[in-house]
């Protein structure tokens, strides 16, 4: 029986008001007068009328809501109703919670096939045409994951049951690889053929790889099964094996990862000797460094680009809850203590329409909806998980229009030992049960690992995209971190991420030397899945544990109490094989050595791209008023201006570990760093910072990578970190990485990673890459268009400081303080925000990093902030350092850093930039050049000499003082001035209509 309960607000309904606001903004010409909403639960279950009444009472708050059973009460005189629900198989968290409430209330579990489906009714009133209603429905739903039903007033509202009906055949097929090269290539590109001739989706296996697989099975004297081929494709994918970084490139025989990334870390660790703080690098799901004698701190950053392009909300929820599992899956389970994010997107005001297909039926989501979606996704994923989000950024460029780059990172805390056992080591033992915990398996995200190596295409909605369920994961996390971990109930743990069970069990099997799994035991969301789908599914919120037989009953009980499913699905062995059965039938039997190391090496060759001439590099001559306009204009650009609407909708206070906030100072300026105090009774702190400079890739990827590292380090130093306790993470997002030119650029960037990291002594502890951020589609006019994301390297810095009370913020704090500029200002306007704003040429001189020189000035600032090295006692503040504020000079140049400190402090400044050190001579180069290695610092007048002393022999210049409520700048030929309030409103302007800062500027 299908029932329906509708719940709507009895009072003012701010959800409805927010929809009205959104629709009026997007459709200004439509005479929409009001919107009303109703939450609808469609229940497929056997229920008596009495039970139904009781359930409805539970689902509505009697004070503020009303319910209706069967029909959906509509407001009088509405024109159209839109009902938005999920497509079959898409994660429906609201439906799931309603089901749990219903089951609890009834005192019985639902029978097989019984379920609850949620949907949202919107009633639109006003003078609206059917076309308008359809356009609004398109704005409000994503056809890849949702359906929208539109009803004119007077028509019946149908009950829609989103039950999954799979008519697929669930037998295991053999695949014939003894065929010609053309067919083999086709299998690699389009997938295994079904009986009806359709294909199952790309394996992303090359002909060379398929030949190796064919030869392997020839030796076994049998044909591979579909699940074996799929498992190999997953295990060998670029996503899982990082083949481009691993395989030989030109003269770099060991691959660029081993030489430049891992090589840098090895060299630095050796140089650091006893001061080496690395504990577990590159081997586990996150990288770990020592925090103190008791704890380790972990960090990992991931991207989730392709799924976020299709479903920005689901994609970014999955990005963040997925990387949370890389923390839970580090060692024997670290506790996530902070999330970070980065959104590389196109200008949300970009109005260009693009399509994925030539027939123009599959429209790419508009840039605005991609940003809205990814922002909401991290909101849901982070806030619901109870993990603070103290740091993030937005970078805007047209090259991110095809595929956005969505970064999510998580910092974790792990005791070094529990019960005398090292928590950062793990090993599945022979005979341990293979236990899957968390959510159930559906067709979600199948081919995710291989899909991310391909460019965007249409596909079956239930399989292309996963949506995270943060609460299931939180329950799972509580069971592990609060209970199971401390009792030593499992010998190994890992995350089910890319490749699902295939990836997780396959990896863990290396520890014991083999595994045997029975897929018939895996709990499924719905029937009808073939063994290969169960093995490869990327359904979220799952982890795999290796559990000693004796410990299993205790562990199972813990998960039961936490209401988390835990299922024995097999045993770890030392057979040297990965054996998978489906019931009694063996469906996979591959040697582990072949599965993991059988992949043939690809020899890669790079080629230097033809020299680029990108036009002007010399600054132009601008008049005073023009320069003033430029300053206000650059502050209003999305790459520079406030993203407070994001920062303030992410909980950065949960867990109580926040020390410096994402929005700093009275004027609430976004910071590029954050300081945490993870252990309440220890004064030690963690400094987080990010650095990115993808725009420089247009000219030189070596300099791009160098600037990214330099920026991350500089941001961390300004927050109080020091170079001797600072590690970094690399996240490469490249495009068209199979072309020799892109490979050349990649090699250059990797080379810079080695050079700069070694020069600074900051080891890489973890990294990840995403190599095909390309989009190929069609314009409105039907023309083929290819958009490739600029080669982008995100560097995340993580450092430990002895005392959080020394942490530094960016805001000017007192009139009369002296302002110093650290570092040289050179004429390096190439690919700068300033040139992007002028919109004509890129220029060809991008900033060069002189790491040796910069290291000295960074160390001096660390000393100046840190004081005399004594623990900083608030009772004795005179022991403190002499720095009052510090900000790193980055995107937008010196004038932007100056403006940010002024806006943050709501205090003006009077500075002279006439005789800066460095070769920048023109006014615009002085103001806007993005030369690296610079920091802007304010210092208490009585501490000036102490401060200058720490900088003896280094590049330092006093440029003026903090003063009044205007910023005035002396330049060689001119003088410009703006009030703090003007700067503040420019800074907060770009996203102000996004629920951004209504404040700021009110202070001045």
């Amino acid at each position: 029986m299908t029932h329906r309960i509708a719940v709507s607000s009895k009072r003012e309904d701010s959800r409805a008001r927010s929809y009205l606001h959104r629709l009026k903004t997007v459709f200004p010409a439509v005479a929409l007068s009001s919107v009303a909403t109703s939450s609808v639960y469609t229940i497929e279950a056997k229920l008596s009328p009495k039970e139904l009444e009781r359930l409805a009472q539970r689902l509505a708050n009697p004070l503020t809501e009303q319910y209706s059973i069967g029909d959906i009460p509509a407001p009088e005189n509405f024109a159209y109703a839109i009902d938005i629900g999920y497509l079959p198989g898409v994660t429906d968290n609201v439906g799931k919670t309603a089901r749990e409430t219903i089951e609890d209330c009834l005192g019985r579990r639902f029978a097989k096939g019984e379920s609850v489906y949620s949907s949202l009714f919107l009633f639109l009133s006003g003078n609206i045409s059917k076309n308008d209603a359809e356009a609004m429905a398109r704005e409000l739903h994503n056809p890849l994951i949702e359906r929208a039903s539109i009803y004119a007033a007077g028509s019946d509202f149908k009950m829609v049951v989103a039950r999954v009906l799979l008519h697929e055949h669930t037998a295991v097929d053999e695949v014939n690889l003894d065929t010609d090269d053309a067919e083999l290539s086709r299998i690699g590109k389009e997938g295994i053929a079904n009986a009806d001739g359709t294909r199952r989706g790309p394996l992303s296996l090359s002909l060379k790889q398929l030949n190796v697989i064919r030869d392997y099975f020839r030796k076994q004297k049998r044909k591979p099964t579909d699940i074996e081929l799929e498992a190999l494709a997953q295990a060998w994918s670029e996503h899982c094996k990082h083949t481009i970084f691993a395989d030989p490139l030109d003269e770099v025989q060991e691959g660029i990862y081993r030489r430049y990334i891992k090589g840098a870390t090895q060299k630095i660790r050796k140089q650091k000797g006893k001061k080496d703080f690395c504990v577990s690098v590159f081997t586990d799901n996150s990288g770990a460094i020592a925090f103190d004698d008791e704890y380790l701190v972990t960090h990992k950053v991931e991207t989730h680009n392709s799924p976020s392009a299709l479903d920005p909300f689901g994609g970014s929820v999955t990005a963040i809850v997925g990387v949370n599992r890389d923390t839970l899956g580090f060692g024997l389970g670290a506790k996530p203590i902070a999330n970070v994010y980065g959104f590389c997107v196109a200008d949300p005001n970009d109005a260009i329409t693009l399509y994925r297909d030539k027939a123009k039926t599959q429209e790419l989501l508009p840039a605005r909806r991609i940003l809205e979606g990814v922002v909401n996704g991290i909101n849901a994923g982070g806030n619901q998980s109870g993990i603070p989000t103290p740091l993030g950024f937005v970078a805007v460029d047209p090259s991110y229009r095809g595929k956005p780059l969505i970064y999510g990172g998580t910092i974790g805390l792990l005791p070094r030992t529990v019960l005398g056992k090292k928590m950062y080591e793990k090993c599945a033992k022979i005979g341990d049960y293979i236990v899957m915990v968390g959510g159930r398996v559906g067709a979600d995200g199948i081919h995710g690992a291989t899909f991310s190596s391909e460019s965007l295409s249409g596909g079956s909605p239930a399989t292309a995209v996963q949506i995270g369920d943060p609460i299931t994961q939180k329950k799972l996390s509580d069971a592990i971190i609060r209970e199971a971990r401390g009792l030593g109930l499992y010998s190994s743990i890992t995350d089910n991420g890319a490749g699902g069970l295939s990836g997780a069990v396959g990896e863990m099997a290396k520890e014991s030397g083999g595994c045997e799994v029975d897929l018939a035991k895996v709990p499924l969301k719905y029937p009808g899945l073939a063994p290969w789908q169960i093995w490869l599914s990327e359904s979220q919120e799952r982890m795999t544990l290796a559990v000693p037989k004796k410990k299993w009953p205790v562990l199972k009980k813990i998960f039961d109490r936490h209401d988390v499913e835990a299922t024995r699905i097999g045993t770890f062995t030392n057979s040297g094989k990965c054996i998978v059965k489906s019931g009694k039938k063996k469906v996979m039997d591959i040697e582990l050595a072949f599965l993991h190391d059988g992949r043939p090496v690809e020899i890669q060759k790079s080629k230097k791209p033809k020299g680029r001439t990108l036009g002007i590099s010399k600054g132009r001559t601008l008049g005073d008023s023009e320069l003033r306009d430029m300053i206000l204009k650059i502050l209003a650009r999305p790459n520079i201006g406030s993203t407070s609407f994001i920062s303030q909708q992410y909980d950065y206070e949960v867990q109580g570990n926040s020390v410096t906030k994402p929005l700093q100072g009275k004027g609430r300026v976004n910071s590029d760093s954050a300081v945490l105090q993870p252990v309440p009774n220890s004064p030690r702190g963690i400094v987080l910072a990010h650095g990115y400079a993808p725009w420089y890739s247009e000219v030189d990827t070596y300099k791009m990578a160098a600037a990214s590292i330099d920026t991350a380090i500089r941001n961390a130093i300004c927050a109080g970190a020091s170079r001797d306790y600072l590690a970094i993470l690399d996240n490469f997002c490249w495009s068209s990485s199979n072309t020799p030119e892109r490979l050349y650029e990649l090699k250059e960037a990797a080379r810079a990673c080695f050079d700069v990291a070694v020069a600074y002594g900051t080891p890489f502890i973890s990294g990840k890459d995403s190599m095909f951020n390309d989009f190929s589609g069609y314009t409105e006019a039907g023309n083929l268009i290819k958009i490739s994301a600029m080669p982008t390297l995100l560097i995340s810095a993580i450092g430990v400081i002895p005392d959080v009370t020394k942490a530094m913020t960016i805001d000017f704090k007192n009139a009369g303080d002296s302002i110093y500029l650290v570092g040289e200002t050179n004429d390096e306007l190439g690919a700068s925000e300033y040139f992007a704003m002028l919109g004509d040429k890129t220029g060809n001189i991008v900033p060069t990093v002189d790491a040796k020189k910069n290291a000295k000035v960074y160390d001096a600032l660390s000393r100046a902030i840190g004081g005399k090295g004594h623990p900083y006692k608030l009772e004795n503040v005179r022991m403190s350092g002499c720095v009052v504020s510090a900000i790193s000079v980055g995107r937008g140049g010196l004038v932007v850093a100056l403006a940010k400190s002024a806006i943050a402090g709501q205090l003006g400044a009077s500075v002279s930039l006439k005789n800066l050190q460095g070769n920048a001579k023109s006014a615009d180069a002085i103001l806007f050049s993005e030369s690296q290695g610079r920091m802007l610092v304010s210092v208490r007048p009585e501490s000036k000499s102490a401060f200058e002393k720490t900088y003896q022999g280094l590049t330092l210049m006093e440029i003026g003082t903090v003063a009044g409520n205007r910023v005035s700048i002396e330049l060689p030929m001119s003088r410009i001035e703006a009030t703090v309030s003007e700067l503040t409103s420019a800074y907060h302007s770009f996203f102000s209509s996004w629920g951004g800062s209504a404040s700021g500027g009110k202070n001045s």
């Binding site: 607000s9 708050n61 943060p470 209401d563 909708q649 909980d651 942490a807």
Partner: protein, 256 residues
């Protein structure tokens, strides 16, 4: 000093148990974090407790309305046990999601509905204290953070009148130190009569949207680096404590 036995509810997406426990520890007590299913299995443990905490979080993702599903679970299984607990001379507190839960479960009157902005917001607020709740003794105004999407307090006129006559509107958003510093509106969510928290059971039960457990150290304040600088110049010494700690100290003291 005699220490009270404190139980902090856990499970299904509540998430501020650890910092709440830590706040009680700084205040000199110890607290047990207990999964609701364990309390349902052995409701008798409530009979030994002096303080019960419904902490913040996102129980059941707030999918069907904030706090509603967790409150349903309480109503279904723990209604009697909690009534017995509250009939004794005990204390209870519901913080943020915990406040939403205890209103939804009928322990305190009213409801928390969506912020006027229809957006989740994290920031600091300033609240004025009135009434005579043991949780709040000695506190006049206090700056603490909020983080919620559904924090607007609503109650029908007769309930509001009753709350007023009982002096039970304990916390009201006011323009104070942090809202002035950051030039933010005093009332962050459109709450009726600026209500940030109410009490019941003669002040023994406190429900509030702000998070005092996130304001127990000086370095948690949103403007502490600025304060550090001005204290330094004045030659003042600073407290290492944050303003929220007093609430936990008060509760512990109530039983000593």
């Amino acid at each position: 000093m005699k220490k009270p036995h404190i139980i902090i509810f856990s499970g299904y997406g509540l998430n501020t148990e650890d910092e709440t426990k830590s706040a009680f520890e700084i205040a000199g007590a110890t607290a047990d974090i207990v999964h609701i299913n364990d309390i349902i299995a052995r409701p008798a443990i409530l009979a030994k407790a002096q303080i019960v905490v419904f902490p913040g979080g996102f129980s059941y993702g707030d999918d069907t309305g904030s706090g509603k599903a967790y409150a349903n679970r309480i109503k279904q299984h723990l209604g009697d046990a909690l009534q017995k607990f509250l009939a004794r001379d005990t204390l209870a507190i519901g913080i943020c999601n915990g406040f939403q839960i205890i209103t939804s479960a009928g322990i305190l009157p009213g409801a928390l509905i969506s912020n006027d902005s229809a957006r989740y917001i994290c920031r600091w607020v300033d609240v004025d204290v009135s009434g005579n709740s043991p949780w709040l003794s000695g506190i006049k105004t206090i700056s603490i953070p909020i983080a919620h999407g559904e924090g607007k307090y609503y109650a029908p006129a007769e309930t509001l009148a009753k709350l007023k006559s009982e002096n039970a509107i304990a916390l009201r958003y006011v323009e104070g130190e942090t809202s002035k510093h950051f030039a933010l509106p005093a009332n962050p969510n459109g709450s009726l009569e600026n209500i940030a928290g109410i009490t019941g059971y003669n002040g023994r039960v406190l429900g509030l949207m702000p998070h005092p457990e996130r304001a127990v150290r000086f370095t948690q304040l949103p403007h502490w680096t600025n304060l550090r600088e001005s204290y330094l110049r004045q030659g003042d010494t600073l407290s290492t404590e944050g303003p929220g700690l007093q609430i936990f100290k008060n509760a512990v003291k109530y039983f000593s």
